[in-house]
Symmetry: C3
Subunit: 109 residues, 3 copies
């Protein structure tokens, strides 16, 4: 048994949930926030048998899409009052960041 | 030291919190959502010494109760417009789904 | 690769986020609740290379500050109606509670 922690973009969360249901993959969803962009994203916690880890990774890989996002630029005021540095910065946000963690005991009560 | 991740129903969350406090079990609560029913539930993260893992599992087992929940049926329109498939589906939701994860370092700052 | 789970006080969350960004440490933030005080706190999930675990622990240790918090006293009504037990209780809340968890697979899709 493994615990998969997958951070994905909100735009892909509902599709990913449906794909998990179709594949009989049990999952719990958390509303989270990215540390850099400070915008909302979604973290799935998925407990899964060792033999199905690759299936789950495949579903995540095929459903999550990298996208460009703009972030408000850091405030930068130099001595001439020059605002040439104030355009929004484009950042590419990945489809998914995934960690597979070992599980020593699994119980359903 | 282990990290216990326990997903329980909202109805049992407050009782479980009180039982943890009485037993001097430290815990952090997350508001989460079930991937299938899409309804709110509660996930506890509990860091606990190896010798107390069984105590914690016992508290969770005795406090969390399986219940029936109804889910809105999937929309199913067939060629005759037959709506015979539109009754809510009854699903049994377990008291708790629990993962015990190994911890390599534990710090309190 | 390790997964660091760090529970900190809301008051330190923004500073900790900035320190992570400056140090190029990727993190995801969760809004959580303490099991004892039932007040909001923040949990960071940080996936990090083994060689950088100590850097991350240092950042957390230096940024998170222990504080006193008051909790509403438990309701205690004795037979004489004595309310001598009704003062708020002072509790020291640590800067951070941190778990380092092993990661078997790490993927970015
Ligand atoms: N210090 C920095 N310098 C330059 N660019 C930076 C940066 N920190 C982040 N970025 C960029 O900004 C995107 C959004 O990061 P954020 O932290 O808001 O949102 C992240 C975060 O919530 C989570 N995440 C990614 N790696 C993580 C890790 N190692 N541990 C925990 N969470 C992670 O997944 C979300 C998407 O991450 P992704 O890497 O695809 O996309 C990242 C990356 O392209
Ligand atoms: N392996 C795992 N990894 C991560 N989280 C897990 C998990 N197993 C359970 N959970 C979490 O615990 C909640 C209760 O699951 P339980 O299996 O008791 O109760 C489930 C189960 O009886 C049923 N169910 C879930 N998926 C199903 C499916 N694909 N087919 C048929 N029934 C399903 O619906 C109930 C509610 O499921 P929901 O997903 O809304 O909510 C789940 C989910 O949030
Ligand atoms: N082993 C663990 N597993 C998971 N999460 C953990 C944890 N240890 C700490 N936490 C999380 O960190 C927060 C701060 O804990 P700390 O021990 O610094 O500060 C604690 C501690 O000084 C005190 N406290 C907690 N439980 C107690 C108890 N049973 N008896 C006496 N004091 C308690 O109240 C403060 C606030 O506790 P609260 O539960 O609201 O909030 C906790 C909880 O959300």
């Amino acid at each position: 048994m493994k615990l998969i922690v997958a951070i994905v973009q909100d735009k892909d969360a509902n599709t990913l949930s449906s794909e998990f249901v179709k594949a009989n993959v049990r999952a719990t969803k958390l509303s989270t926030t990215g540390g850099f962009l400070k915008s909302g994203n979604t973290t799935f916690i998925i407990g899964i048998d060792d033999e199905r880890v690759e299936d789950v990774l495949k579903i995540i890989r095929e459903t999550s899409h990298a996208r460009d996002q703009f972030m408000a630029p850091p405030v930068n005021v130099d001595v001439t009052g020059d605002s040439s540095m104030s355009y929004p910065i484009e950042v590419q946000v990945g489809g998914a960041t995934v960690f597979v963690v070992p599980v020593e005991q699994f119980h359903r009560f």
